[in-house]
């Protein structure tokens, strides 16, 4: 339980002076142990009854949380790297909402029944391709256009999110009530009813983009220095940004497909990871962000389920804490 909620206190205590004395390796190991312990507790707590029924269900739940923590952590950190800032995240820029809109549009165009009868991998691939295509066109236009005011970007991103949600709800009202129910099932999936097969496809998609990211690993640290520096140091900036945006789109699509949109989760873990890390190398920041994500999700779920006895409110708590962190970042002038 002590590990379950390190975010707010750590955030406050290290506000002015990041914990720079401890090496990243220390944090990776400590957080790794904590995450493993939480996962173990989650799997074994109050374990009774039909183990053959309970354990696989819990395993799917934990696996989906780990996958989401990974997808959100990695996509946020990489997104922040290519946009050279610490406050834009894919979800603040409306990626999640875009995914929901695309799914709604799909049901609207071909009908809910058709979507349901489509084989799942095909559907998933169609959605991923649409998502990558759209976000790619939209955000590349946004990030490579002139006038690079970060505040404008942020505001445009937030409004894009609002616009996508607005269109989604408009389309949702326009489709048949019975099809709307199908759609609702697609979005408001929480950790409690993640589909095992979907989890498998998601893992494959994540693995594929992870290979892509791994092959680019040497350029991420350089990209973080900014466009001019990166070009000077021999990185094909446009190509690198493009690939990173593709990676981010896939990761966002995966996490949204699994558990629905979570706006501030990425911002939360990424900010904290930067605070803990004494240098900003991706080799250190990425694992720390992912581990923090696992701790927050598994630990948070554990606390909410076992102590407060309600389960799906985790995203609301994250939204609350994340919103406050975001406000603090804005007010401290971290946005440059």
């Amino acid at each position: 339980m002590a590990n379950s909620n390190p975010l707010p206190t750590a955030m406050v205590s290290s506000r002015r002076h990041p914990v720079r004395s401890l090496p990243p390796k220390f944090w990776i190991i400590t957080l790794g142990i904590a995450a493993a312990a939480l996962v173990a507790v989650f799997m074994t707590i109050e374990l009774r009854g039909n183990l053959g029924y309970i354990l696989p269900r819990r395993a799917v739940k934990v696996a989906s949380m780990i996958l989401v923590a990974y997808a959100v952590g990695v996509s946020t950190v990489l997104f922040q790297t290519v946009t050279c800032n610490r406050i834009l995240t894919p979800s603040i820029m409306g990626f999640d909402a875009l995914y929901v809109l695309l799914q709604t549009a799909l049901v609207f165009v071909i009908g809910g029944q058709a979507v349901l009868t489509m084989s799942e991998p095909v559907l998933f691939i169609i959605e991923l391709v649409l998502m990558v295509g759209f976000s790619f066109l939209l955000y590349r236009w946004l990030f490579t256009g002139g006038g690079k005011s970060l505040h404008l970007m942020l505001l445009v991103g937030i409004i894009f999110g609002t616009m996508f949600r607005g269109f989604s709800s408009l389309l949702q009202r326009l489709i048949d009530p019975s099809e709307f129910i199908i759609l609702q099932d697609l979005f408001f999936a929480s950790f409690n009813n993640v589909d095992g097969a979907l989890l498998g496809y998601s893992a494959i998609a994540v693995a594929l983009v992870s290979i892509m990211a791994w092959r680019m690993r040497s350029s991420f640290d350089v990209l973080a220095l900014g466009r001019d520096m990166a070009v000077n140091l021999g990185v094909d900036h446009k190509k690198a940004v493009t690939s990173t945006l593709i990676i981010c789109s896939v990761l966002v699509a995966v996490s949204t497909a699994l558990v629905g949109p979570v706006t501030f989760f990425g911002l939360l873990v990424a900010s904290l990871a930067y605070q803990l890390c004494s240098h900003f190398r991706h080799a250190a920041v990425l694992p720390i962000a992912v581990l923090l994500g696992i701790i927050a999700l598994v630990g948070g779920q554990l606390v909410l389920e076992r102590i407060f006895a309600f389960d799906t409110a985790l995203s609301i708590v994250i939204e609350f804490v994340g919103g406050i962190v975001f406000l603090i970042l804005l007010l401290r002038g971290n946005v440059k």
């Binding site: 256009g145 002139g146 006038g147 005011s149 505040h151 404008l152 942020l154 505001l155 445009v156 937030i158 409004i159 894009f160 609002t162 616009m163 949600r165 607005g166 269109f167 709800s169 408009l170 009202r173 326009l174 706006t263 309600f310 409110a313 609301i316 708590v317 939204e319 609350f320 919103g323 406050i324 975001f326 406000l327 804005l330 007010l331 401290r332 002038g333 946005v335």
Partner: protein, 353 residues
Amino acid sequence: MSAPAAPAPGPASPPALPPPSTSAAVTRRRRFPRTAASLALGSAAVFVLAVASMFIGVSDVSLPSLLAGDPVAWQVFWVSRVPRTLSIILAGMALSVAGLIMQLMARNKFVEPGTVGTVESASLGILVVTVLLPGASMIMKMSTATLFAAAGTALFLLILRRLPMRNTLIVPLVGIMLGGVISAVTTFFAYRTDLLQTLNSWMVGDFSGVLRGRYELLWIVGILTVIGYLAADRFTVAGMGADFTTNLGLNYNRVMMLGLVIVSLISAVVVVSVGSIPFLGLIVPNLVSLMIGDNVRRAVPWVAVFGAGFVLACDIIGRTIRYPYEIPVGVIVSAIGSVLFLYLLLRKRAARG
């Protein structure tokens, strides 16, 4: 029971829209003849929309049936259609003017009650009063919502004062985040008390539930709109800061308080009666300022007319696009409004180069 009262709001109301605008037009006729003429034209357009809005619906209310004296048609007309159209006009005018006042107070073109936490605070207030006093009267609900809305808006203005750099774009960002945090709190408690669905139905602006006897509170916002018009110049001055305001012989705190009360009351009453209509207070004043410039006194009647017309048009779209089903006006406005807001934002970027 309420039958005798029936015609009272009815016949009095259609002409009730023109007075603010026409009287403004009259006083300004000499100095701005063309503006006055086009303002009258705008009011006429709103009137046409209003008439059209009264004849759209599932139950048959047509001009011939009214002329023939069909009692059922007349009843539907007075009980449902007229109140609905009136409440749309009142809410549209008031929310747009509230947005303008908010923009003057924060001296920022990109804020409105929905993007600074006022609306979110008002709905938190409704939730609190619903949970604590389940049988609370409408007035009770409304005053709690107003108190919360005022507190939320004041919090925003306080944060604004402490902002290290007062960039045009960071102000709405802080507001949106504050609204997000407040609505997270609301969602959290609504979730625990099983009121999430009720909450959602409050939050989506929808005029379909408006009947005679359930919209009259909106006349308050009509009055507030007039007060807002009369005090518009003061808000411009107050937006310049406390020292500047005092130098000009105005009581800064009193003006800010007046603005706060007007904006909060308007937001609270509208949320309680019809739900929130996003972006309205943002895009209407901005589009008006694009059209006729930044003279606030001159802009207010325009903002009111334009706001009423916009909501009327959106409501008509919502009622016809999937006839006989109805799409809440909040959904239509948020889809159209966000596109317009993006246009305003990106247009600025293009202009900057």
